[in-house]
C-alpha cells in the first residue's frame, strides 16, 4: 500500500489551495459537480430555445439576439444557428454533464472514501484533470463568441461537413476548430482522471477492503474508468486529425473530387467513414460511461433504502463488466446505413442484441430485490425507482434500433433521439439526482429539503415521460431528426405533437429550478444532518465528520470487516452493520 504517496500532500492552508487549486479529491469532486451544473443549465436553456424554435420557427425568441446578432437577428433563430445550438447542446450534455457528474464528480468524491483511502493515488493528476476539463469547457464556450459562431455538425461532427472548413457553410468556421480542440483537451483530462481511478482502486484499498467488499458504485466507477481509458484514447487523436484536416491541409477524412459551395476541394485520399469509425469506437463506450456510474449509484442507494442487499451482488458486478466489455463490440450499430459493407451490419447487430442480456439481468435483479424489502420512500429512493422505469423504457427502444432491418426505417428519426434521451438524458441524470439527495448530508453536513425533493421528483418524472415518450411516436411516423423546422408535407401534421413536447419541456425545465433552489438553500439553511442519516453501511458514513476531514478519516486508517450490504441483520445500531464495525453479524430473526 503506497501510503507514502498519499501522505505527500499536507492539509491546505491558503484559500487558493483549499478551494481553487486543491489536491483534495473531495474539493475536486465538488468542482466537477459545479462545472456539470453550469453545463447542464446552459445545455437546458439551449434546448428550450431549440424546442421553441421548432414549433414557432418564424417567431422571435426574446433575448437570443444578445447571444448572437447574426444567428438570431431580431431574436428569430436562423436555420444554421438552430443547428449550432443543437451541436452545443449535445456536446455540453454528453461530455460536460454525463461524463462529469455521475463519474468524475461523485466518483472523485466518494471512491477514495468508500475504499478507505486518504485521497486518490495521484492528487496532482487529479487537480490537473479538473482544471484541464475546465479549460476544455472554456474553449468550447468560446465558440459562441467567434466568427460565425459554434459549429453546426452535431456532437457527432461527421466529416466532410466538419472537416473541409468554412466552405461547407455558415457555422463551420473557427467554431468547429475550437470544438475539435476543446474535445481534444477534454480527452486529456479524462485520461488523467481514469488513470487515477484505476490506480486508486487497485492500490489504495484499506485493510480488509478486498475487491469483493467494494460497494457496487465503487465497482461501477472502476469499470467506467477502464472503459474510459481506451475510449478517450481513440477520440483524442481523432479530434487532432479533424483539426489537421481543417487547418493543415491534410486529408484524413476528405476524399478527392468534392465541390463544396462551388469550391473544388484540394484534399484527396481521405475517408469520411474513418471519422465515423473513430468517433463511434469512442462514442458507444461513452454512453456506457454515462450510464454505468448511474447504475452503480442507483443500486447502492436502493439497497440502503430497501434495507436488504440485491439478490446477487456478484451477478450485478459481472453484468457491469459484461456491459463494459460488450460496449466495445457494437459501435457499428450507429453505422448500419453508413455505406459500410452491409454484412458488417449483421456482425454488429449480434453483440448489440446480446448486450440486452446483462442489462435485463440487472433490471430483473433490481425488480426482484424490491420484493420482500422494507422500501423507504424518500427523494433519493424515488429517483432510483424512476431510474429503473426510465432505463426500461429507453432500453426497450434500443431493441428496435439494434435490428438493421428496422433501422432502415427508424435511423435518423426522432425514435433514436427519444431512445438516447431516455437512457442518457433522463435515466443517467436521475442517477445524479439520487446521488445528490443521498450524499448531500455527507458533503455538507445538512439535509436537502425532502418536500421540495419529492416535488422535484414527481414533476420531473411525469414531465420527462411527457417529453420523450412522444419522440418515439414521431419516429414511427418517420419524423427526421436534426431539422430546424418541419416544412415537409408529411411533417406539418406532426407539429401539434411537437407543441405538446415543447410545453412539457419548458414545464420540466422550470421544475429543475426547484432542485437548484433546494441545493443552494439547503447548503446554507438545511436541517443539520446526523452522522449517518440513511443508516448506510459503507465507509463514507463512518468518517468522523460531514463533510469528512481533509484526510477523510481523521488520521485513522479504517479496517473493514464486512461486505457493504449487511442490512436486515441484527446490528448494534439497528438493522445493519457498518463495514468498519468489528461486531459479528447475526441474522435478524
Amino acid at each position: 500500500m503506497s501510503e507514502a504517496a498519499v501522505h505527500a500532500h499536507q492539509a491546505p492552508t491558503s484559500f487558493i489551495r483549499k478551494h481553487v487549486f486543491s489536491l483534495d479529491h473531495k474539493v475536486i469532486g465538488i468542482q466537477y459537480y459545479g462545472l456539470a451544473l453550469v453545463a447542464v443549465v446552459t445545455g437546458m436553456v439551449l434546448s428550450w430555445i431549440m424546442r421553441i424554435h421548432l414549433v414557432w420557427p418564424n417567431s422571435p425568441i426574446p433575448g437570443v439576439q444578445w447571444l448572437s446578432k447574426i444567428g438570431a437577428p431580431g431574436g428569430v433563430v436562423t436555420p444554421e444557428y438552430y443547428l449550432s445550438l443543437m451541436t452545443m447542446h449535445g456536446t455540453l450534455m454528453v461530455f460536460f454533464v454525463l461524463t462529469n457528474a455521475p463519474f468524475a464528480a461523485f466518483g472523485n468524491y466518494f471512491l477514495p472514501i468508500q475504499i478507505g483511502a486518504e485521497d486518490m493515488a495521484f492528487p496532482r493528476f487529479n487537480m490537473m484533470s479538473f482544471w484541464t476539463t475546465f479549460v476544455a469547457f472554456c474553449i468550447l464556450v468560446s465558440a459562441f463568441f467567434v466568427g460565425d459562431g459554434p459549429p453546426l455538425s452535431g456532437w457527432t461532427a461527421y466529416a466532410p461537413l466538419s472537416a473541409v472548413g468554412a466552405d461547407s457553410g455558415p457555422g463551420e468556421g473557427v467554431g468547429q476548430t475550437l470544438w475539435g480542440l476543446s474535445i481534444f483537451v477534454f480527452c486529456i483530462a479524462s485520461l488523467l482522471g481514469s488513470l487515477n481511478f484505476i490506480a486508486t482502486t487497485l492500490d489504495l484499498r484499506t485493510k480488509g477492503m478486498t475487491l469483493a467488499r467494494m460497494p457496487i458504485c465503487t465497482w461501477a466507477w472502476f469499470i467506467t474508468s477502464c472503459i474510459s481509458l481506451l475510449a478517450f484514447a481513440v477520440l483524442m487523436p481523432a479530434c487532432l486529425l479533424l483539426v489537421l484536416d481543417r487547418v493543415a491541409g491534410t486529408s484524413f477524412f476528405i476524399p478527392s473530387g468534392l465541390n463544396v459551395s462551388d469550391h473544388l476541394q484540394p484534399h484527396q485520399g481521405g475517408s469520411p467513414l474513418l471519422w465515423q469509425h473513430l468517433f463511434w469506437f469512442f462514442g458507444h463506450p461513452e454512453v456506457y460511461i454515462a450510464i454505468l456510474p448511474a447504475m452503480g449509484i442507483v443500486s447502492h442507494i436502493l439497497i440502503v433504502n430497501m434495507r436488504k442487499p440485491l439478490l446477487s451482488h456478484k451477478v450485478v458486478v459481472y453484468c457491469m463488466m459484461a456491459i463494459g466489455f460488450l460496449s466495445y463490440m457494437v459501435w457499428g450499430h450507429h453505422m448500419f446505413l453508413s455505406g459500410m459493407n452491409p454484412f458488417s451490419a449483421m456482425v454488429f447487430s449480434f453483440p448489440t442484441l446480446m448486450i440486452t442480456i446483462p442489462a435485463t439481468i440487472m433490471t430483473l435483479i433490481w425488480l426482484g430485490s424490491l420484493y420482500g424489502s422494507k422500501l423507504r420512500i424518500n427523494a433519493a429512493s424515488l429517483f432510483c425507482l424512476g431510474f429503473i422505469s426510465m432505463f426500461v423504457s429507453g432500453g426497450v427502444s434500443g431493441f428496435f434500433l439494434a435490428q438493421p432491418s428496422i433501422d432502415i426505417y427508424l435511423h435518423a428519426t426522432y425514435f433514436v433521439v427519444g431512445h438516447f434521451h431516455m437512457v442518457m438524458g433522463v435515466a443517467a441524470i436521475f442517477g445524479v439526482f439520487a446521488g445528490t439527495y443521498f450524499w448531500f448530508p455527507k458533503m455538507t453536513g445538512r439535509m436537502m429539503n425532502e418536500t421540495l425533493g419529492r416535488l422535484h421528483f414527481w414533476f420531473t418524472f411525469i414531465g420527462t415521460y411527457c417529453i420523450f415518450m412522444p419522440f418515439h411516436y414521431l419516429g414511427l411516423a418517420g419524423n427526421v431528426r436534426r431539422y430546424s423546422a418541419f416544412t415537409d408535407d408529411f411533417l406539418v401534421p406532426l407539429v401539434p405533437v411537437h407543441k405538446f413536447i415543447t410545453y412539457a419541456a419548458l414545464f420540466t425545465g422550470a421544475v429543475q429550478m426547484i432542485f437548484i433552489f433546494n441545493l443552494i438553500y439547503s447548503r446554507f439553511k438545511g436541517a443539520k444532518a446526523e452522522a449517518n442519516p440513511w443508516e448506510c453501511t459503507s465507509l463514507e458514513w463512518s468518517t468522523p465528520s460531514s463533510p469528512p476531514p481533509f484526510d477523510n478519516f481523521g488520521g485513522q486508517h479504517p479496517v473493514v470487516y464486512h461486505d457493504p450490504y449487511q442490512y436486515g441483520v441484527k446490528g448494534s445500531k439497528g438493522d445493519y452493520v457498518m463495514q468498519t464495525s468489528p461486531e459479528k453479524v447475526a441474522q435478524a430473526t
Partner: protein, 270 residues
C-alpha cells in the same frame, strides 16, 4: 404513501404510453409508418410489428411489476425481510433464455429483410438512375437512349446553367443524351437501380413509403435498388445533417404507369 403514488403514476404512464402505439394517433396526428409501396417492405413491417409486440409486452410487464412491488413494499415498516423465491438464479436464467432467444430469433429473422435490400443484387434489367446529393438538393440523371452515363466532372458543375452534375457534352458523347431532373420519376413495378453520388458532404436518401434509407458517402459509389408498387407522389428527404438547408433538402418520387413514364421521359430536355 409515496410508494403508492409512485406505483399509480408509473402504471398509468405505462398504460397511457401504449395507447398511441395501438391506435396510431397522438395529439390528432397519425403516428405510424405510412403505407408500404415497396416489394421488400412487407418483411420490414412484419419485423417492426413483432418487435413492437415483444418490446411492448416487456415494457408493460416491467413497469407493472415495478409499480406493483413499490405499492406492496414501499414504506413497509413491519414484517420480516423476504427474498424473491429462488433468488437471482431464476431471474438470470429467465433473462438469458427470454432475451437471448428473443434477440437471436428477431435478429435471425430480420436478416432476411436486410438481405433483400442489401445482399441481393439488382436484376439484370433494373433501370439505372443516378442521384446526386449536394447542399441542398437532390438531382437525378437518366442515361438516355444510349444507356450510358456521361462522366462527372466536379469542376464543371454550374448550377446557374443547370449543369448540376458537371457534365461535358461537348467532349463526352455519352453525356449528350443524359436526362437531368429535379424529380425522381419511375415506372410502377419496375426495379430501379439507384446509383448514389455525393457532391460535397454527407447526405442521406430516405423514402418512408419505400422503406429505404441509405447514406451518401463522398468518395464512395453506393447504390440502392427498389421496386415501387403504387402510383403516386412521395417525398424524398435528406436524413444526414448536411448544413443549414438540411431541413429543406428534399425531392419528390413520382411513380407513374409505364406509359406515362415513357411520355415523361420523351418530354425531358437534355
Amino acid at each position: 404513501m409515496g410508494g403508492k403514488i409512485f406505483a399509480v403514476i408509473v402504471i398509468v404512464i405505462a398504460l397511457l404510453s401504449a395507447v398511441p402505439i395501438i391506435n396510431h394517433t397522438f395529439m390528432g396526428a397519425n403516428v405510424a409508418p405510412p403505407e408500404d409501396i415497396s416489394t421488400h417492405g412487407a418483411s420490414i413491417d412484419k419485423q417492426l410489428d413483432e418487435t413492437m409486440l415483444e418490446a411492448g409486452l416487456s415494457f408493460l410487464a416491467a413497469q407493472l411489476v415495478l409499480g406493483f412491488f413499490v405499492w406492496q413494499f414501499g414504506g413497509r415498516k413491519d414484517g420480516a425481510i423476504k427474498n424473491f423465491p429462488g433468488g437471482a438464479k431464476y431471474l438470470v436464467i429467465a433473462a438469458v433464455l427470454l432475451v437471448g432467444l428473443e434477440a437471436i430469433a428477431l435478429g435471425a429473422i430480420g436478416t432476411k429483410a436486410w438481405a433483400t435490400v442489401y445482399f441481393q443484387a439488382p436484376g439484370a434489367d433494373a433501370m439505372p438512375i443516378q442521384v446526386q446529393a449536394g447542399q441542398f438538393a437532390f438531382y437525378f440523371r437518366y442515361p438516355g437512349p444510349d444507356g450510358k452515363f456521361g462522366q462527372l466532372h466536379p469542376e464543371k458543375i454550374d448550377e446557374g446553367n443547370a449543369n448540376y452534375f458537371g457534365l461535358d457534352p461537348e467532349n463526352d458523347v455519352a453525356a449528350r443524351d443524359d436526362v437531368t431532373s429535379g424529380e425522381l420519376v419511375v415506372p410502377v413495378n419496375k426495379e430501379i437501380h439507384l446509383l448514389m453520388h455525393a457532391k460535397d458532404v454527407g447526405h442521406s436518401f430516405y423514402v418512408r413509403e419505400l422503406r429505404i434509407q441509405q447514406d451518401f458517402v463522398p468518395g464512395l459509389d453506393l447504390a440502392l435498388h427498389f421496386t415501387a408498387t403504387k402510383v403516386g407522389k412521395y417525398e424524398i428527404v435528406c436524413t444526414q445533417l448536411c448544413g443549414l438547408g438540411h431541413y429543406n433538402m428534399k425531392a419528390y418520387l413520382s411513380v407513374m404507369t409505364q406509359d406515362d413514364f415513357d411520355k415523361w421521359l420523351k418530354t425531358q430536355d437534355q
